[in-house]
């Protein structure tokens, strides 16, 4: 009845649908009209070109943080540290933006590169510990998130600014903002970063599927023993995977640092871009194209949801629950897969 390929496409679609459905019931339960609720969500995401621009702007870091999680995952690693890598990338891009005086053609690439390197460095350490000492990457990366958060806060307050809560705004030469894109979308914050994110997705696909390095990374992800038998250096591949994953995450930070905001501030908590990246990767099946599609969905929900309190009166907390529901159903996709396979069995 269903081919395996179809099952793989159906699972995320059904997950999203179930999430929306449960969300509708929750809204109903609290006395809100789910139809108006979802309609205002749609309006808030695609209603006019400003909202559309904002949605795309939100999609941009999600693509990159999703790619970061997915890349590590394909090598059998669970990079929970994307969040911290995002923060470090954010910080690095802003710092380079502020510290250097150069023409755009040098300055901007340098700031982007700095973000990627900072994220990569933040991924390198857990990778090294995993490869050499077998320390589980999940624990290390969780801790690295906190180190990143407070390191960034300390640096912003004490080094990059004079006891301020945020840095100066970066100069135009290091900025991804685009007059043209902004004008096109009624002065939304849409910036050139989207192109970088899409390019990164293509890079991930290329590395994993078209290069010998990607062959090794995938092989190590599936079977470390066979990879060792085949002569691959398992440890080096683990480190490399974390470094590349971290670089993607760092880029996601740059999207915020020199794209959306133009500064880094002292943060009271995590940005959640990295944690949402886990859900994006999961929903996207850890494949480049899937991640892009999932990021579009998450960006839509995130931005569209902002409109729900004002135009439908649904409180933001409920909106967060609805989004959490969708993630829940994606995460428990095993259930849906099981269901589909059972239908498949009986359908014959």
């Amino acid at each position: 009845m269903f081919s395996n390929r179809l099952v793989n496409i159906l699972i995320p679609l059904i997950s999203v649908f179930l999430g929306l459905l449960v969300g509708a019931f929750i809204m109903l339960g609290f006395g809100y009209n789910p139809l108006t609720g979802y309609l205002s969500l749609w309006e808030g995401a695609f209603g006019d070109s400003y909202f559309f621009g904002e949605t795309l702007r939100q999609v941009t870091p999600y693509i990159l943080s999703g790619l970061a999680v997915a890349f590590a995952f394909r090598t059998g690693l669970f990079n929970i540290g994307v969040e911290g890598q995002v923060i470090m990338g954010w910080l690095a891009s802003v710092w380079v933006g502020l510290a250097i005086d150069a023409p755009m053609i040098i300055h901007l690439p340098l700031a982007i590169l700095a973000a990627a390197l900072a994220g990569a460095a933040w991924g390198f350490l857990p990778g090294l510990l995993k490869a050499k000492l077998g320390v589980h990457e999940v624990i290390v990366t969780i801790m690295m998130n906190y180190i990143a958060l407070y390191t960034s806060n300390a640096l912003v307050r004490n080094v990059i600014s004079d006891g301020q809560d945020r840095t100066e705004r970066i100069p135009e030469t290091a900025s991804l903002t685009s007059e043209w894109l902004a004008a096109l979308t009624q002065y939304s914050r849409l910036h050139y970063g989207l192109l970088i994110a899409l390019f990164a997705a293509a890079i991930m696909w290329f590395i994993l599927n078209q290069t010998t390095r990607g062959y090794e990374l995938r092989s190590v992800g599936f079977n470390q023993d066979a990879s060792r038998y085949a002569g691959m250096n398992v440890g080096r591949n683990i480190i490399l995977s974390m470094v590349i994953s971290g670089a993607f995450a760092g880029l996601a930070g740059a999207m915020e640092g020199i794209g959306t905001f133009g500064y880094q501030s002292v943060k009271g908590g995590f940005t959640n871009i990295g944690f949402d990246g886990i859900a994006v990767a999961l929903l996207g099946g850890n494949a480049a194209v899937g991640v892009v599609l999932a990021a579009i969905l998450f960006g839509t929900l995130k931005v569209g949801a902002l409109n729900m309190p004002t135009s439908a009166g649904v409180p933001t907390e409920l909106v967060d629950i609805v989004i959490a529901m969708i993630i829940f159903f994606v995460a428990s996709s095993y259930m849906i897969r099981w269901f589909l396979l059972k239908m498949k069995k009986e359908g014959k």
């Binding site: 078209q210 290069t211 010998t212 390095r213 599936f222 066979a226 990879s227 038998y229 085949a230 250096n233």
Partner: protein, 508 residues
């Protein structure tokens, strides 16, 4: 004549193939009934139908004369059908008792009554002569004992009809003897047994009747005392099969592999290889005989770079390869057909085509400047799959989906094709049917005749005797004797493997 199990005209289809077509299997009360067929002939499918994992498209199943519908394994359990799986379904960190009661625990006030369970396990193991320690953890006991735990699991659930799925594939010769004894006790206690196997010797030894299936079709049922291995083999394969592999006398040339005073420790820092000396010449097959666990695996891992050499030297063509990385060992000219093909030999989630370049992907023509060239990879894979008769729907099929025999043929194709100086074949025919075994034996001899050195590790004495030009017996981490197959007997080898040194002992 009373049948406990009758499967009449069973037909089971999967998308694109008919796995079972019109197969009839009738098992009498109190007999050991063999189910014989090549890998992929449909034995497992048939048993899964009986066990309720698959529903047949056509046909009828009767248990003790009554027509039944077995919709899932629980129904099978209730009908007294128990299955001893080839790949054990045991929780490593649980005790024997905990594993046996898993899923049907005796309870006392909401907690598991482990005392009662242990007593029951003790009683059952006494009754059927299954020596197990109810309190031992699974990870601490031998493979043979783990299998006895699997048997106890079915008995604990009241099984009257036991299905053994290729039970001897993982056992040592001694453990096989014990298992056969256990099966006889089970019969004496009134159980019936279906034995899935492709080992003809075992059928001749222990079975009463034998049902043969070939390519999904029932070929027929024969009385074992009225038949012989040759007839069974040709029934199974559909053509004449030669057993003792034809080969010319070896013409050994220069020394290819030389191992001197090798010492290797295992993961727990126990000395597994102790002062081992061994030479393998070009153009000969050296058989490494021994009971599992005497350091054979560690020896091979040390040669191939998968395990660190503690002291001593490994030389290939006069050059030291001691403690080189697996890649360097491979590129120095060693091919390795690993003992555990799922763990080491294949990346099961890769397409079979990509598995064919597992060691060579970084060389031209399979990649250029770090970019894979799938066309070349798959062309190579197609050629190898053709040459080595690997049966797979396509080169893009995941390795996981292939049968064991075809996976092994793929590995052998890949390893032999690299034109190595030395081929290390560790249990190359484990779990395979006679057709595949014959093919692999021929290939190894062909390679020998091309002047390659072959080191063969096997726990099957037949295989060692048949293929080897020289047999090195390994015991307690060193070579305790070297004999020529024509000068020895299985009995003598068995004694040497058990550590009795009345033979002219001591390596070279």
């Amino acid at each position: 004549m009373s049948y406990v199990i009758e499967m009449l005209n069973i037909r089971k289809e999967f998308p694109g193939i008919v796995a079972n077509d019109n197969i009839t299997l009738q098992v009498k009360q109190g007999e050991i009934h063999a189910l014989l067929g090549e890998n992929g002939a449909g034995k497992s499918t048939l048993m899964n139908v009986l066990f309720g994992l698959y529903q047949p498209e056509k046909g009828e199943i009767k248990v003790r004369g009554e027509s039944v519908k077995i919709t899932d394994p629980n129904v099978a359990n209730r009908l007294g059908i128990g299955m001893v799986h080839q790949h054990f379904m045991l929780v490593d960190t649980f005790t024997v008792t905990e594993n046996i009661i898993l899923g049907s625990e005796p309870r006392k006030k909401g907690t598991v009554d482990i005392k009662k369970a242990e007593k029951e396990v003790e009683r059952l193991s006494q009754l059927y002569g299954l020596r197990v320690d109810p309190k031992a953890k699974i990870r601490d006991i031998s493979v043979g004992m783990q299998q006895r735990v699997e048997i106890l699991k079915t008995l604990y659930r009241g099984a009257e009809i036991l299905i053994f799925d290729e039970p001897t594939a993982v056992l040592t010769p001694q453990e096989i003897k014990e298992l056969i004894e256990i099966m006889r006790v089970l019969i004496r206690e009134g159980k019936s047994i279906i034995l899935i196997t492709h080992k003809l010797k075992e059928i001749m030894q222990v079975c009463d009747r034998c049902t043969v299936i070939r390519k999904g079709e029932g070929i027929g049922t024969v009385n074992v005392p009225d038949t012989n291995p040759n007839e069974l083999a040709s029934l199974m394969v559909g053509r004449e099969v030669t057993f003792s592999t034809e080969k010319q006398p070896a013409q050994p040339k220069e020394v290819t592999l030389a191992i001197q005073d090798l010492n290797v420790k295992d993961a727990r820092h126990v000395d597994m290889v102790k002062g081992l000396n061994l030479k393998v010449n070009a153009g000969e097959i050296v058989g490494l005989a021994g009971v599992d666990g005497n350091g054979q695996s560690e020896l091979i891992e040390a040669i191939t770079g998968l395990r660190k050499v503690d002291s001593g030297e490994v030389m290939l063509n006069g050059k030291s390869i001691t403690n080189l990385t697996p890649r360097k060992v491979t590129e120095a000219g060693i091919s390795h057909i690993p003992q555990d093909r799922h763990r080491f030999g294949l990346v099961l989630d890769f397409p079979i085509g990509e598995n064919m370049v597992l060691q060579t992907y970084h060389h031209e023509p399979f990649s250029k400047k770090g970019v894979l060239r799938y066309k070349e990879i798959y062309n190579k894979a197609k050629a190898l799959i053709e040459e080595y008769d690997v049966r797979t729907p396509s080169v893009y099929t995941k390795a996981r989906a292939l049968s064991g025999g075809n996976q092994q043929k793929a590995i052998i194709g890949r390893e032999v094709d690299r034109s190595p100086d030395l081929i290390i074949a560790a249990q190359p025919t484990r779990g395979l049917d006679v057709g595949a075994i014959e093919f692999i034996h021929k290939k190894l001899i062909e390679e020998r005749d091309k002047g390659r050195a072959v080191l063969l590790l096997s726990f099957e004495l037949d295989e060692i005797m048949n293929l080897s030009d020289r047999i090195a017996v390994m015991f307690g981490g060193s070579i305790v004797a070297e004999v020529k197959p024509e000068d020895t007997t299985e009995q003598e080898l068995g004694l040497l493997m058990a550590g009795s040194k009345q033979q002219k002992a001591g390596g070279q």
